[in-house]
Amino acid sequence: MSGRLKAEGCRLKVGNSGAACWALLVATSLMMSAGHALAADELQRREEQAMKAAVARVAPSVVRIETVGGLERVGQVLIGTGPTTGLVVSAEGHIVSSAFNFAQKPDSILVTLSDGSRHAAKLVATDHSRMLVLLKIETEAKLTVPEAVPLAEMRVGQWSLAVGRTFDAGQTNLSVGIVSALDRIWGKAVQTDAKISPNNYGGPLIDIAGRVLGVLVPMSPDGTGEMAGVEWYDSGIGFAIPLAGVVQVLPKLVQGQDLQPGVLGVNLKGADLYGQATTLAAVRATGPAYKAGFRAGDVIVEAGGQPVTRPAELKHQLGRLYAGEKIKLVARRGDGRIDREVELADKIEPFDFPFLGILPMRPLAGEKAAGLVVRYVYPDSPAATVGIKAGDRIQAVGGTEVESADSLAQKLQNLAPGEPVQIEVRRGSETLLLRPILGRLPESLVDELPPAHAAVEPPVAPDKPGETEPEQPQVGVVALKIPEFQNECLAYVPESYDPRVAYGVVVWLHAPGGLKQDELIELWKPLCQQHDFILVAPKATDRTKWQPTEGRFVRRALDDVMKNYTTDPSRIVLLGQEGGGAMAYLVGLASPDVVRAVAVVDSPMPRLVQVPETEPVHRLAFFTTLATKSETTAAVEAGIKRLRAMKYPVTVKEVGEQGRSLLTDELEALVRWFDALDRL
């Protein structure tokens, strides 16, 4: 058909030529078109043949895996029991597969080889960095080991064929695509646009010659764990772990050694992966970076021989490395350069927040501060033990000058409970040198607190009449409109709001049944005024329950308030009751960059939430009520145990046998606890 159309087009083009050559032209162009059509067919036939030959070449190494028993769900994903795929990597019976296939921790594993023989398999080791498993079957026969494509030969754009053995044991299944990218998922994977799914996870991604590019796995640049990336199945975004790399770590796996991603034990300043900041905000004393000599304040400028200016570049260098591997890091410290090799660790002990035992006074914006004035000293704290008193001015810690509460916090986040610290305190005309031993963050509530800042003078009216005052954000009861979301959101900003004062934020996540605006405001108005808080009360679309997807709306409402008012980043709190409490956990644990406390009333922590590791720079505390004989008692206690195991401070308030709302005096105590979240 296209041949015909082409020929007609030609005739039009050459229509002015002499009549003599007319017949010849038409005849020739028709013949040529036929030649082209044949050539295209021939190409397609050959390509198809090449693909089938490639699959046939690798097929003897592609096995079918079936499992019996184990969990039915991992996280929120229903685990299938369908067959999956594996790839032979040793003639003696070693087989690699995707860890996804084993997320349900099966009781028994059965492998069917390409010749149809069945074997029981043992799980030998797991690679937690690449999300692979190594299996072993006992067999007399020598298995066929496929050829791996060397990393240097892989090219974006080359054919890539994904092979599984899941529909029938006797034949493979195939999906065709190209290599979309190399060095994906922080340097660990090859990306393909072939359709990757449980139908071929664990199987090989091969080139047109039948050599193996990699082992197919679900993966996600953000998530970790066996299930991360499964939501991208069949989407044209698929990943394979280069077999050439697997071969290198195979001896370790064969010996039953699990492999872990390598960690440095540092925190960077700023949460933006692509921001221009590789300054170490915290270096964990138990971590390898600290042992190699790196300290907070150092700026990483080079990693693994590559210049580094953004956190993402550092992550890219680290991502491919296993625990036990070494990386050369170069850091700038003042005018000097630190150049060290660091052996990465498999894990860092959870960070335990150290505690001096004071509350700082909060200077007003623009107020000249020299050192940190102590607002309150916790009874029986390290500070109380060495005699620090309210009104003292802390001038230096460990020999470094202290300019503000922030600089003291930064100093402390690189120390651990039990460590001594030297503190220089100015009291009247005296200067004292004290050496308290740091403690742990307290889990108790606090008594009456003195004011956190000097009384605020009303702003001076502008001198010249006619000059308008800068526009003030709304105060009192405010209806917040969050673009994109239909949810309503209420806020209360104290009428005395002054932009020079930093306000904490309490996000109230209501219990099923919604919220009664008037009662809520009446209850919170005096508390907000006394303790400098802004109350934000988002409403669930369905007042009877929160949807986990509404977490984005809650976070946006919080961001909105933080953008428009002067807020204190150390006192951002999520407070929820019953279903609202579950929401507080979900949003809080997903927003460690912003939220400093999660407080819940009558609500267990959802069992499925991931509790992130404690981060020195993101201090997070918890408050929960506990009823002793309620249906949820066990679940609440389990949540507390999980959080404390990760070294989070959890303040527990017992409320009797059955769950209930907080009484007024209990709520007052809770808000004082919120007020004291900037404790150091």
């Binding site: 058909m1 296209s2 041949g3 082409k6 083009k13 050459v14 030529s17 050559c21 010849l24 032209l25 020739t28 162009s29 040529m32 078109s33 030649g35 082209h36 050539a39 295209a40 067919d41 021939e42 190409l43 397609q44 390509e47 198809e48 693909m51 089938k52 699959v55 079936e66 019996v68 028993g69 039915e72 994903v77 229903l78 029991t81 369908g82 067959p83 999956t84 009781d107 028994s108 059965l110 069945r118 029981a120 043992k122 006992e138 754009g157 529909f167 029938d168 034949q171 493979t172 299944n173 195939l174 999906s175 065709v176 190209i178 359709k195 799914s197 449980p198 139908n199 199945y233 069949d234």
Partner: protein, 359 residues
């Protein structure tokens, strides 16, 4: 990039005949060759087949399903008299079915017949001289073949707009009942599984062809595997459908017995074998043997307590429930072959039910 490689290789293959012709023709002809060659690519070779095939496609509109299910599907012509093959679905469950041809003409379609076992229906519109597939010219395909899928997925095309076309390969040719209980569909024959996302709302009843435009199969409905919870893109080979279509066309069609679901009246059971499994407390309790009577058929065959039953015949069993289900498909007095896992070893045993236990 895949297109680039086509283009590149086509040139290499195409140059020699073109050059030969050019050499023995006028100069203007060789200039023409270059112009032609420039415009040739894989897209051109698909274009011819696609242009020829699209007029054979039909958009079908009928009844909407429960919970807002779409009220349209796809079909294709198999005669110049207006016979249309499509899937049997709720869309056709109405008194008024509309078929829109590729040229935009709308017809009321009559349901000639349906074979629910094959998810197949044949419609007829009153029109003549229509472009169509020759049923007899349908060809088989195999894994690795590149294919084109024509359908009105998501109802994107309306009126005289041509059907949508997708490109992919046959991932595997398999049977839907290869994994019993996996797919909720009446059809249990062989299918082509595709590596393209063809089975979307409205696509069912579309046509699958090879790159020459030859009819391979009819696109199936949306189907999710109960085993691994993912969507399956499949189509029904034309050779599976041909005889039913012909019978419907001849007005002789009689729905046959669905033999795939019949179970024996008197099936084998655990007590008869002398087996007691561990208490079935979970949804998927692994079928471990708790007790075996020594003188029972199972005991005599060598089954021991703590053995895990993994296969009955060639079928993997995941649970006590699955084991009982497999047994219920086996005649009471027939031999039973099972594979057990014992200390990480697979042990195959053959159990011979005892004659006197048969009543």
């Amino acid at each position: 990039m895949s297109f680039c490689s086509h283009r590149f290789s086509i040139r290499r293959l195409a140059v020699s005949p073109a050059a030969r012709l050019g050499a023995c023709a006028l100069l203007s002809v060789s200039l023409l060759c270059v112009a032609l060659e420039e415009s040739l690519s894989a897209a051109d070779s698909f274009a011819a087949v696609i242009a020829e095939t699209q007029p054979k496609m039909v958009k079908i509109y009928g009844a909407g399903g429960p919970r807002g299910l779409e009220s349209y599907q796809s079909g294709f012509l198999i005669s110049d008299q207006g016979h249309i093959v499509t899937v049997w679905s709720y869309v056709l469950d109405t008194d008024y079915i509309t078929a829109t041809l590729d040229d935009g003409r709308k017809f009321e379609a009559k349901l000639l017949g349906a074979d629910p076992r094959l998810d197949l229906a044949v419609l007829k519109v009153e029109a003549r001289e229509l472009p169509h597939f020759e049923l007899a010219a349908g060809v088989p395909g195999e894994a690795g073949n590149r294919v084109l899928a024509f359908s009105n997925l998501f109802g994107v095309a309306t009126g005289d707009e041509p059907a949508s076309v997708q490109h992919g390969i046959i991932a595997v040719k398999t049977r839907l009942d290869a994994r019993r209980g996996t797919f909720e569909t009446p059809y249990h024959g062989s299918v082509y599984v595709l590596d393209a996302m063809t089975n979307n709302p409205g696509a069912a009843g579309g046509a699958l062809t090879n790159l020459h435009g030859e009819l391979l199969a009819m696109l199936g409905k949306e189907l999710r595997s109960a085993q691994n919870n993912i969507w399956l893109n499949y189509s029904l080979p034309i050779e599976e459908l041909r005889s039913s279509i012909e019978q419907i066309l001849q007005g002789k069609f009689r729905p046959g017995e669905d033999k795939t679901t019949t179970k024996p009246v008197d099936a084998i059971d655990l007590a008869q074998l002398g087996l007691v499994l561990v208490p079935d407390v979970l949804d998927r309790t692994p079928p471990y043997v708790d007790l075996v009577r020594a003188d029972s058929p199972a005991g005599l065959a060598g089954v021991k307590s703590d053995d895990l039953v993994v296969f009955v015949g060639d079928n993997l069993v995941h649970s006590c429930k699955g084991f009982r289900e497999e047994l219920s498909r086996i005649e009471r007095d027939s031999k039973l072959r099972i594979v057990l896992m014992r200390d990480q070893e697979l042990v195959e045993v053959e159990i011979q039910p005892v004659a006197e236990q048969k009543k």
